[in-house]
């Protein structure tokens, strides 16, 4: 990894003012081994039954989260609820396209979430650019920047599709396959390189959680 002038930039929090250094982590993320099978299975069940969505409407997709969290579809009965802070959330719903400016916030919010954390990507834009395939300001594949567990096709996916997507996510979690956090840690440098390639004014620490 190198900056624009070709000078190698170490992947760390160097260059932060001393006062801020304490606010950020000083080590890259690490992988977490699952607990003993029976314990992990129980935990996974609990994780799957208590999905807290980060209430960050990153794109159009947020529009269908409103019906989902209100009476008509009432996602609370499936153990899904919105949560205002990334610290307490376990599911990040990428609501469609992500502009570069938002991507920066997505990355930051994602990194602030506590593992295990899951990402649900809505609609075409997250898969291959969608309508904005030729836009100068939107990324095309979200999986280049953060690991994604479930994709839901549609533009916009209906609330029912979102619900079905969450059911699928639950299934994956219970099967112990939703290891996005570990994947992120494993390929951390790759993800960081991708992120820095599109986020031109990278002014945040590399380890920010």
């Amino acid at each position: 990894m190198s900056d624009k002038k070709g000078k190698p930039v170490p992947l760390a929090n160097e260059g932060l003012p001393a006062g801020e250094r304490g606010l950020f982590c000083d080590a890259p993320p690490r992988e977490y081994a699952p607990a003993a099978k029976i314990v992990e299975d129980f935990w996974n069940w609990a994780r799957s039954q208590s999905l807290w969505i980060l209430g960050f409407g990153t794109g159009c997709g947020a529009i269908e989260l409103r019906p989902l969290m209100t009476s008509r579809y009432d996602m609370y009965r499936f153990g899904i609820q919105p949560r205002p802070t990334p610290r307490q959330s376990s599911v990040f719903v990428i609501g469609g396209y992500a502009s570069v400016k938002t991507l920066k916030r997505i990355v930051r919010s994602y990194e602030q979430m506590m593992g295990p954390k899951f990402v649900v990507a809505l609609g075409s834009c997250t898969i291959n650019g969608g309508m904005y395939w030729d836009s100068y300001n939107t990324i095309k594949r979200i999986d280049q920047y953060i690991p994604v567990d479930v994709y839901i096709a549609g533009c916009m996916p209906r609330p029912e599709a979102l619900l079905a997507g969450f059911q699928e996510l639950k299934r994956i979690i219970r099967a112990g396959k939703a290891e996005g956090q570990n994947e992120y840690a494993r390929n951390f440098e790759w993800y960081k390189a991708n992120q820095k390639r599109v986020i031109k004014d990278w002014n945040m620490p590399d380890y920010n959680w």
Binding site: Y73, S124, I127, G129, Y151, I152, E160, A164, E168
Partner: protein, 591 residues
């Protein structure tokens, strides 16, 4: 603030005693609306793979991909649209625009996967749960994004037309032409069907843009007979037209004619390429029909000196002698021929090769020889009495009409056959005041003639007698002939093949005619090919490869003489191919 402001809010509790708004099992209980724009469906058999959906898609969500077990054929590219749900926005413009109407949308909306690479599929080919869905978005009845109706061509009415040999079809005005050209979706499926593989989308675009010079240049790239082909081409392209899969095909032929009609011959030179510097090589072309002259044109463009030997007194071959003037007026044909001649092509009239000069001489005097002598010899009826003096030859009748000779057909005429020559003969006879019966072995739908021709022949008053197998011709004793045929029924002998007419025993009909015109096909006259020339002939045809090379290296052949399709455009394509092959033989690059 009054007390109501404190009490009224507790009215929320009313809701607690009512039924919740919640849908218990939304995924099961709420299917998409009957019109829901869900996942795509496609009737892969109706689809023609034109790619209009791809063109209209602003998301580049649709790719045209080859699918297993589907090969390109006339009017079907063999490709099928593959939708990328990483791009689609479900606007359904593709459904609205689809010319064949094969594309639709189901009301299914659930597709969830962890693998982002799976969201691509070929609707109707890759099996999906929503295949064949009844509900879902379809374009509104009667409303399409594309205009499915052809701009009507101004024509002389039938009652009026049958009275003279004036051209029936008047040609598009600028506005009409541009409107008609606007209907084209530029898919290019037609190009393969055109024997000459003309750049049809290209010249239609030129019409649309009003850029006729470009249009003419594109026409002449593959076809030096735009005036003629713009009128009488068998237009395989239009049968292949994607718009035709759900409506009237684009009037490609009329648009071609429009371009050629609009540009004055004097202006041709402005847009068309000039001949290359003379190479000093000489080529002889035998027969000044469309094929021969096409070869001459392209050879001349390449800088070769071309001499055309024509046995008749005017150039054009079957275009002139086989096609009545009301379909192809002679000035139009002359325009094409004159332009070819303007490139320095020399045409020697009245020069029947074989008699004078002999082919051997041509082979000696010229660096290459192109044989494009066509099919001048009409087939006989091949029934007893077909040598009766009132049994006439259709091609000869048409040629006589061209020469302005008296035809002497009498009052009642039977035309035997179902091809274009039969129709032309019948309509020519009608214009000479005859009553015409067209007698054909099979059904109307089986007729090889252009449906439009059949329709017009009927409209002009010709009576169509279907399923009539000629039995014999008898002399009627009063200067006419009695034509006897056996009524037939169509029998499906082998599954998958077209049905065959079988005579119904005893159903014999006899009619008296003044003339019986046989128009059941023509054969070649290969008398000029001597053993010494060494050109291998098999089944009455010189053996050639696709480029027209015969067994003799410097002798090429093409057109109806060797071509199965037996139409002008194929002859032109042969001529063009042969010209390139000859050029290569003479040391050129062949393009």
């Amino acid at each position: 603030m009054d007390i109501k402001d404190i009490v009224a809010p507790f009215a929320v509790w009313k809701r607690a005693f009512e039924k919740p708004f919640t849908v218990r099992k939304p995924i099961d209980e709420r299917p998409g609306a009957p019109r829901y724009r869900g996942f795509h469906i496609n009737d892969a058999d109706t689809c023609v793979g034109c790619g209009t959906c791809e063109s209209i898609c602003m998301n580049k969500a649709i790719d045209l991909v080859p699918v297993e077990g589907r090969e390109p054929s006339a009017g079907d590219s063999g490709l099928r649209p593959r939708v990328d749900y990483g791009r689609c926005c479900w606007c359904a413009l593709c459904v609205d625009v689809c010319p064949s109407g094969s594309l639709g949308m189901s009301n299914e909306y659930l597709w969830i996967d962890s693998d982002p690479d799976v969201f691509r599929y070929v609707p109707g080919v890759d099996a999906k749960p929503w295949d064949g869905a009844e509900l879902g978005y379809r374009r509104a009845e009667g409303y399409r994004l594309l205009d499915m109706e052809r701009v009507p061509m101004p024509e002389t009415g039938h009652a009026e037309g049958v009275k003279s040999f004036l051209e029936l079809v008047k040609g598009y005005s600028r506005d009409q032409a541009e409107r008609e050209a606007d209907r084209c979706v530029a898919c290019g499926v037609c190009v393969a069907s055109c024997p000459a593989h003309m750049d049809i989308p290209g010249y239609i675009k030129a019409v649309r843009d009003g850029d006729l010079e470009t249009g003419l240049r594109l026409l002449y790239e593959t076809n030096p007979f735009p005036e003629a082909c713009g009128r009488i081409c068998t237009r395989a392209c239009e049968s292949a037209c994607a718009i035709g899969s759900g409506g009237d095909p684009v009037a490609i032929r009329w648009l071609k004619r429009y371009i050629a009609d609009q540009v004055e011959l004097a202006d041709y030179g402005k847009s068309l390429p000039r001949a290359e510097p003379a190479t000093g090589r000489k080529v002889a072309v035998v027969g000044a029909g469309p094929g021969g002259l096409a070869a001459a044109y392209y050879l001349a463009l390449l800088g070769h000196k071309v001499t055309v030997f024509e046995k008749d007194e005017a150039a054009g071959g079957m275009l002139r002698y086989g096609i009545p003037e009301y379909r192809l007026p002679y000035p139009a044909l002359d325009k094409d021929v004159d332009y070819i001649r303007s490139l320095g092509v020399e045409i020697r009239y009245g020069a029947a090769v074989g008699k004078d000069p002999a082919l051997a001489k041509l082979r000696k005097d010229f660096d290459a020889v192109y044989l494009s002598t066509g099919l001048p010899a009409a087939y006989r009826l091949d029934v007893p009495g077909d040598d009766h003096p009132r049994v006439l030859d259709g091609v000869a009748i048409l040629a006589a009409a061209t020469r302005g000779e008296e035809l002497g057909l009498g009052r009642r005429v039977a035309v035997v056959g179902g091809g274009n020559v039969a129709m032309d003969a019948a309509r020519t006879a009608l214009r000479h005041g005859c009553e015409v019966d067209i007698v054909y072995r099979r059904r109307e739908v089986d007729m090889p003639a252009d449906p439009e021709e059949i329709r017009e022949a009927k409209a002009e008053g010709a009576r169509l007698i279907e399923r009539a197998i000629p039995v014999r011709v008898e002399d009627s004793g009063d200067g006419g002939a009695r034509f006897v045929w056996n009524e037939a029924e169509m029998v499906q002998k082998e599954p998958g093949k077209r049905p065959v007419p079988e005579p119904i025993p005893g159903a014999v009909v006899t009619e008296r005619y003044d003339s019986v015109i046989a128009a059941i096909g023509q054969g070649p006259d290969l008398a000029y090919l001597t053993e010494a020339d060494g050109v291998e002939v098999r089944r009455m045809k010189p053996v050639t490869d696709r480029a027209g090379r015969t067994s003799v290296p410097t002798v090429f052949a093409g057109g109806d003489l060797v071509n199965e399709k037996k139409d002008a455009i194929s002859a032109i394509a042969d001529g063009h191919r042969a010209a390139r092959a000859i050029d290569r033989l003479l040391g050129g690059k062949g393009d």
